[in-house]
Symmetry: C2
Subunit: 341 residues, 2 copies
DNA sequence: GTGAAAGCGCTAACAG
DNA sequence: CTGTTAGCGCTTTCAC
């Protein structure tokens, strides 16, 4: 099947290119019978406008980029990223945008992909997942003046719009719940402490303790990296400190932690109570079901897109800082039900 | 920061557009000192070629599309899709292509997205995940003459290139393993039986039984849909038939099945032995570790890209049918270790 | 080795 | 309401 252009359609319909263009773009100023005629030819020829030509003249590609720095590994190991991607994709669909996905595995990838991201004409805007590695990227991108939204508050960069939850408050809520149940030695498995999300959840943990006049014992704090395996290892390192409860900064790490507890011959929540973070599907697939902080991941993705479109439409000023709410979902792993009875 | 064009760079470097273009595209015919001069200006201005303009004239966008029909739900619920996506993204990176992701949630999405997929100028080629819903899409796409590779053998469409594993042989291997361990009543939880992957794995199951002169008992076959919950429910429906072992057509469903077994107060593998399919991370996170068929998911993604690039380069003929190998990974859920000792 | 010129397919004033 | 015209920014012959 040959590829038809506006010109071809115009000729076959006996009108000018402009008229066909108007029909395609649903401009009102076209006589009905002419529109019908053009539409018929379009249908017959299977004409689709050429995206490159349209982008070139309109300076709009209707493509948004999603950049996940150094997350090639975790992209499929933690349901968080797929879930986020899904929310972003859905919002793109609804707004007739196409989604371009950039997964950086290495510094090398980053260098290689950067020109394509910053190149004009391909992307109308970019969503960047906040991560330690991404910050310098953001700086470069922001200078290029391209519409930009971060998924997660950046650490060092100011004046960049972002969408996030309040991780301090959320972690505080989770730990307060454990303390409220009467547990004395409450530990935490943190995310990477060179990311805002890792630091903020740790801060929430600290705050909940100090607020009650309790001391923060560094032996009860172990850093991990959001993978299941790291959660498993972190709990093993935590065990000598004899925690009675642990706030784990992600469900995926909680899975690993619970695996380690099981292997140590201990029970959740009778020996060690657990609270996770995310509330993604694995939380209810595990035994016992996980008490966890629900994060509106899908909604975060949708909101990131909405914010980016707003920026594309109305300019980068003012900086948007959007915080969505979290919620504590109490199930069995924290031992609340047993203690209640 | 203003946006510079070839023209701007040319003027500042005191050369013509053509020369700048040659420098950018690494053409040999440029005098060294001129090249240096141009490169300096490019660096100073932060010039990046405009993707739309380049695509328009070169008829190449260097963007590949990945279409996952009706998989918005499973995209994040089953690590299979993220893993596949990751393989595809990595291969795109290596070949300097950009990846556009199309997640269809509904028939409506499909209609809405179709024009963007088939529109010239945006995509150089498309990878479509095989699924019941995707077949008619494929037909339309194939007629548009756009380079196309299917991930998974299509059911009804001929003359379409695809990359897949041999699901019949793989399932046969898994079930034969169970039969070889001496289990008599071996059941199966299948994938959707309106997909080739679902049907093929069931066929492999049947073949392993009949090959040994055993009868296929329909009560030992339950259809599910690759989700964890469906695996859970399927096992509950299977239980009255008293299976001694079950071949489950995906690890994710196996997780659900094992959850149901646990809830029924039974043990894996002592009461019910399990073999899964995929060998993705959850397989070793669960207790007991899952015996499963390893599928080279990442490799499938990489190969799909390589095949698509080959088609873009050398034309659609001949139809490529690429089959990658599977491997049985024996762990504890099948009871092999206990029976050996 | 370099520049001039044509044109990729489309949109959007501007006339009429 | 419709056609003419002028580019969008780039690559690519074709001269020189």
């Amino acid at each position: 099947m040959p590829v038809f252009t506006l010109e071809d359609v115009a000729r076959k319909a006996g009108v000018s290119r402009s008229t066909v263009s108007r029909v395609v773009n649903k401009h009102p100023n076209v006589r009905d019978d002419v529109r019908e005629r053009v539409l018929a030819v379009i249908k017959k020829t299977g004409y689709h406008p050429n995206a490159a030509a349209r982008s070139l003249v309109s300076q709009r590609s209707e493509v948004l980029g999603l950049v996940l720095p150094r997350s090639v590994q975790s992209f499929f190991a933690d349901p968080y990223f797929p879930r986020l991607t899904q929310g972003i994709a859905q919002a793109c669909n609804q707004n007739n945008y196409t989604l371009a996905l950039f997964l950086f595995g290495t510094k090398e990838d980053e260098e290689r992909l950067y020109p394509r991201i910053s190149r004009r004409g391909l992307l109308d805007g970019i969503i960047v997942q906040s991560a330690q590695m991404g910050e310098e990227l953001i700086l470069r991108l922001a200078q290029e003046n391209i519409p930009l939204v971060m998924q997660g508050r950046p650490a060092h960069v100011a004046n960049v719009s972002y969408v996030d939850v309040d991780n301090v408050t959320a972690a505080h809520m989770a730990v307060s719940h454990l303390l409220g149940l009467g547990y004395q030695r409450v530990g935490t498995i943190t995310g990477p402490l060179d990311t805002t999300v890792g630091l903020d959840r740790l801060e929430g943990y600290r705050k909940a303790l100090t607020e009650r006049g309790m001391e923060v014992d560094d032996n009860l704090i172990v850093e991990a990296d959001f993978t299941e395996v790291s959660g498993y290892q972190a709990l093993q390192r935590l065990l000598p400190a004899r925690p009675r409860a642990v706030f784990v900064a992600s469900d995926t790490m909680a899975l690993g932690a619970m695996r380690a507890i099981r292997e140590a011959g201990l029970k959740v929540p009778n020996d060690v109570a657990i609270v996770g973070f995310d509330d993604l599907p694995p939380a209810i697939m595990i035994e016992p079901p996980l008490t966890t902080v629900r994060q509106p991941v899908h909604q975060l993705g949708m909101t990131a897109v909405a914010t980016l479109l707003d920026i594309i439409e109305n300019g980068v000023e003012p900086t948007r800082r959007i915080i969505l709410n979290t919620e504590l979902i109490v199930r069995d792993s924290c031992g609340a039900s047993q203690r209640a009875s």
